[in-house]
Symmetry: C2
Subunit: 434 residues, 2 copies
């Protein structure tokens, strides 16, 4: 009978192959509860397409594991008043780490990726994995202790790093700005200190996941998240899922060549010329600003350079706000170059949303306007018929929220769900639910 699918296979040992099919259904049900906030069994029947008896049975199982709790009686819609269910997000914690080139964000979230504690510190990725990861572990232990959380409350740790990562093993693969990190077993490093699963991914992928889970691309099937910081990268969400590519390096748009004729001469750190990143990234904007200051093209930038000793994209943004013509044109030019590249990718992938994030995304409205100008001018009209181009909505917390979501998606996947629930059976809530 359909209403005994799950228990039958668990009674047979729980790990036989038949549990696969049931795990898929159970995971789908839990996913519906997680997304819903508060819901009822009848709602879940509608949302999942599963039968009433199967839903009741799965809810019972999840309630036994304390991951779904009843929170009272709801309003009647004609029949008996429904019992309201919710996901027990207070049952465990997630450690979320977003490593940048010069800083690291470490957060603790609940099982809904709600940020409970967030600490941002400077960190030089160039110091190598041992020093940087030791620092991350110390911060994580500190903020757990300061808030009265036990390390054993961690159900998982997620980390984003600024380079390509083989997701299945959690190891960076030849990351250009992370000397010494290639092949380093990040997962094992954490597991010497914490007894929980660890997932590592590229930082842009992680921000794309965060944006899709709780930000501006929530509920959008196909979107591209573009991060413009020192470099330029993208995270690709297709059918609501992160697409990582065959080697895990999908989204590396910073090294797409912008000029076939190679009329320009910007040599990129990858060795090629006229890569998008070498012409329009944050580092390129800073370099161009220094040249403009030195050659007398911008008095405002010259003044700032004399005071500070170097210039960054932020300086250009600030001077543009103060009416500096060179800075405004530089920002528009960077936006047009980015838009030019995105126009081709829009033709190719036909997404319905492009999200612009990263530090340089805050250069002002003319940057976004220039991106939009080029995309709408150069893409095929059909591909942009309902395309939106928006700024990231999560800002600084996007990375850690995404890191938490990468962990949660793995923990509650069909493959892991039963093991995770079994290993946390009897856990008390870590904190009082809101």
């Amino acid at each position: 009978m359909e209403d005994q699918v799950y228990t039958e296979s668990t009674r047979n040992g729980g790990s036989n192959s038949a549990s696969t099919a049931n795990s898929v259904l159970l995971s789908a049900l839990l996913s519906a509860v997680r997304r819903s906030g508060a819901t009822s069994r009848s709602d879940l029947v509608k949302k999942t397409g599963l039968g009433r008896a199967l839903v009741a049975q799965y809810v019972e199982l999840l309630a036994q594991k304390d991951i779904v709790v009843e929170m009272g009686i709801g309003e009647s819609r004609g029949g008996r008043r429904p019992r309201i269910l919710r996901f027990a997000s207070e049952l465990g914690l997630i450690g979320a780490v977003d490593l940048g080139a010069t800083s690291v964000d470490v957060a603790i979230t609940d099982l809904s990726s709600r940020v409970l504690v967030h600490r941002s510190e400077s960190a030089d990725v160039g110091e190598g994995p041992q020093a940087v990861l030791d620092k991350v572990v110390t911060i994580l232990k500190d903020i757990l202790a300061e808030n009265g959380f036990s390390p054993s409350s961690l159900w998982g740790i997620g980390m984003g790093v600024p380079g390509p990562v083989e997701f299945s093993t959690g190891t960076p693969i030849s990351p250009p700005i992370m000397p010494g990190w290639s092949g380093f077993p990040i997962r094992e490093h954490f597991q010497r200190h914490f007894c929980c699963p660890v997932y590592v991914d590229n930082d842009v992928n992680i921000q794309a996941v965060g944006e899709a889970a709780t930000g501006v691309s929530m509920g959008v099937a196909n979107s591209i998240f573009v991060k413009i910081g020192t470099g330029i990268g993208a995270g690709i969400i297709l059918h609501g899922q992160l697409y990582r590519g065959s080697q895990g390096c999908a989204g590396d748009i910073g090294h797409i060549q912008v000029d076939y004729l190679e009329a320009g001469h910007a040599v990129c750190r990858c060795g090629n010329v006229n890569c998008l990143e070498a012409l329009a990234g944050g580092a390129a904007i800073g370099r161009a600003a220094e040249m403009a200051a030195q050659s007398g093209q911008s008095a405002k930038l010259a003044e700032r350079l004399a005071k500070k000793g170097f210039l960054s994209a932020e300086d250009v943004g600030e001077m543009a706000d103060k009416g500096d013509a060179w800075s405004t044109e530089q920002i528009r030019q960077s936006g047009r170059l980015l838009g030019y590249t995105l126009a081709g990718l829009v033709n190719f992938l036909n997404p319905s949303l492009i999200v612009i994030g990263g530090g340089v995304a805050n250069l002002g409205d003319s940057f976004l306007a220039a991106i939009r100008e080029m995309v709408y001018r150069r893409s095929l009209p059909l591909a942009t018929r309902s395309l939106r181009i928006e700024r990231s909505s999560l800002g600084l917390q996007g990375g850690v929220i995404g890191a938490a979501h990468v962990v949660l998606d793995e923990l509650f996947s069909a493959e892991s769900l039963m093991d995770v629930l079994n290993s946390h059976q009897g856990d008390a809530p870590v904190f009082a639910s809101a």
Copy 2:
């Protein structure tokens, strides 16, 4: 009990929401049988991850519907000798149509996309949907009758057309080279003559599906099929599935701009300048050849032009084979332009295979070499670590095989499977199995 999942839900009416979960599993099992050729119940347990009892029950159900048949006893691998099962591909027929700008291919396949009859005729897409579709219907009826097949043996019809298509409704959307076809209800046209489901998609998508199902990209998770004919387009296979994009126009790489500085002056039919298609497509190669002939750059092409009145990409290929230097360089240049564009898409999507198809793909080895040269030069090394770039293996039949597969994938999907099996219950085999 898990071994009664399916029958319980059918006994309750068959169309309740619980059947969704079972349909997914049943469809997965049938898919494993379809891909296997010959298999046993034990093999299916391994391949699907379903329990033994569930596999036995689903096989029994599919055998009742005659879509899976037993073909004898296999070799023992230690235990009882297994009964061998196969997919009954002779139970029905698929009508497969591949419409080009100037020709149409119509085929009849069995339920495994094996081509039983194939007819190719000239057809001018510019004559509009009514005239062209009437012609297709006539050909289809003729080849059915000539081979003693009843139109009622058709389980479905699939058609590829040279332009963007909204797959869910089967209607072309503003196709640039198909005047009069925008919004035309192709599906309804067929259904006035044939009583079966009809699916319509873009011709390049359909070839990509064919190549993934039975050609060079079979078993490859992430691949891009590039068709270079008069124009240039691509079909994207991700995680083994065709990716269509938000408006159904993903893969339109022909209108990616190749030169940011717009130093060239090739105006494209889309209205933009220096689109890939306007510089490297078959029509562009033909135009360039005519100019080379008239300006005295190639004596061989001038001779051919005088004889023929116009030149095509095929002429350029032929002259290159005969040692014409201009033609060889033109082919290399087209290959480099295509490779330049693909290099960016490889960085972005990180596929493991690019398949080059369409008429211009046969221009000779220097074309493929030039594509490879640019991709390996311009893409990031990590993204090309295990990337292959190969010629299409299906050739002229790729379109109709793909059209048949698009139909088969839909018919045997979780959503349609039970309806399809119920509506064909009691069908006799259309022809003797091989």
